[in-house]
Symmetry: C2
Subunit: 308 residues, 2 copies
Amino acid sequence: MNETIKAMFGVTILGNNSALPAYDRHPTAQLVTLNEQLFLIDCGEGTQMQIARYRIRHSKIGHIFISHLHGDHYFGLIGLITSMGLLGREHALNLYGPAQLIDIINLQLEVAHTTLPFPLVFHPLEKEGLILDHPKYSVACFETRHRIPCWGFLISEKRNPRKIIREKVIEKGIPAAFYDHLKKGEDYISKTGEIIPNESVTAPNLPDSSYAFCADTMYTEALADKVKHANLLYHETTYLKDLEERAIARFHSTTEQAANFAIKAGAKKLLIGHFSSKYEKLDEFLSEAKSVFDNTELAIEGVSYRID
Amino acid sequence: MNETIKAMFGVTILGNNSALPAYDRHPTAQLVTLNEQLFLIDCGEGTQMQIARYRIRHSKIGHIFISHLHGDHYFGLIGLITSMGLLGREHALNLYGPAQLIDIINLQLEVAHTTLPFPLVFHPLEKEGLILDHPKYSVACFETRHRIPCWGFLISEKRNPRKIIREKVIEKGIPAAFYDHLKKGEDYISKTGEIIPNESVTAPNLPDSSYAFCADTMYTEALADKVKHANLLYHETTYLKDLEERAIARFHSTTEQAANFAIKAGAKKLLIGHFSSKYEKLDEFLSEAKSVFDNTELAIEGVSYRID
């Protein structure tokens, strides 16, 4: 992961393949960097090896989100959790996923007589909406349309609605202690009782930026409102466009469908992945998607994508 | 796996590391080739990728033996089984392991709504002794001494007690249909009633050859009788000899202990593995073991070792 991405909002691909590993492509796993910490989305088999390969410090992972219980999205989780324990992790790990996930983890820990040295805090995904609300970011989950219950995640970096105009606040003598209130849009009342309107010392800020991970899903416009205007939209493209029937039968999507969905959702940029192991080369995925929605990139393992 | 090994009795190492993956070494997995088929012993995370890496046809794996339920010995199993299903396997897969293993597998298949297209035949390991008895080979299990219940496996290639002396059987006019009886030591009675003693047309054969996989274990002489005179003895060496105390505390073994065990068991050759991830280089493992038992080899991933 390059140094720039470490410091900003971005996503690094650890695995971009669907069900079967192939051509040295791994099952789904993505690392989102936000506010100096790491969120792991999905954790296919071998994710802990991929984390080591790209020299990522897994101690920085505070939250893991598992979209659904098909193996290519979580078979690496128990190995990663166990390794974190063996390496002496002490700080809490938050895990979000379908309710049965914790039964699987607990059974595997129990048969090994393993007690983790850190708190594993499980948050079952039960209904759509906010699952994590921090002053600087939030994560919401939403249901996709797949063969088994499956959740997508919308990760947003919150921005204050206003940004300070430095010369103005100095000119008006507003104390730095009040800057956070100004960023939220409040007026300042000076010691002499003078009201300094917020708009006179601040300017509108950029809107929140967001990463929408649509997990495994067949094409459905119903999702578009849930990920509206995402700065970066990840949508699966298990198949090229000629296999649309197969995609529908298997609750997956094609390049053309992903690109149409990006238009529908008003995404700024589209990231495509979850490639079927039947394809050795990926260039047609890119050309097919770009012919519909130009601002598309392939999810390539080891590559980080900025979200802005 | 080289062509010679494919045709004979041998073992190919797919993973030689202990608990944590490190230095591109993988957790335990070994493939035994015997009688034109493959037995997989243990299946740490990433084993299916290792199988692909070494271009092994996993359709030839008919039996999988899992020593114990520490993750580095079985976390790759559900992924391998699921992939076999996705690839349309139809012939039975026999799985041997601690009883709880099947609960874990079944739970993971159930949450994914997966029905395997092939019969998964589970054989829980409950007591020491024969678990597979075929006219040409046998597998027995035995308990090792580890932190949780753990099983070793003794895989033997059966040989007929006698081998035919070709010129003699032709000279005596014994029909080819009777050769199998001769190999078992029976005399031949000709149509005229003449008794041709077995010893006059056969010679003693080599004894059975065997591979003893001692799994994870602390040093214990009690195991020696169970793997007596193995042609190839695999014994773990998690640590170098200076960490004997740590080895005992963690129910593991050192180089010196493994080599002493090989002497005690009268092994022809010793194969050492399950190296701790604290060691980057392995040369001291070899030199320490060889200084006690010279006919020792390191278990190196991708390398096949003949059993004879």
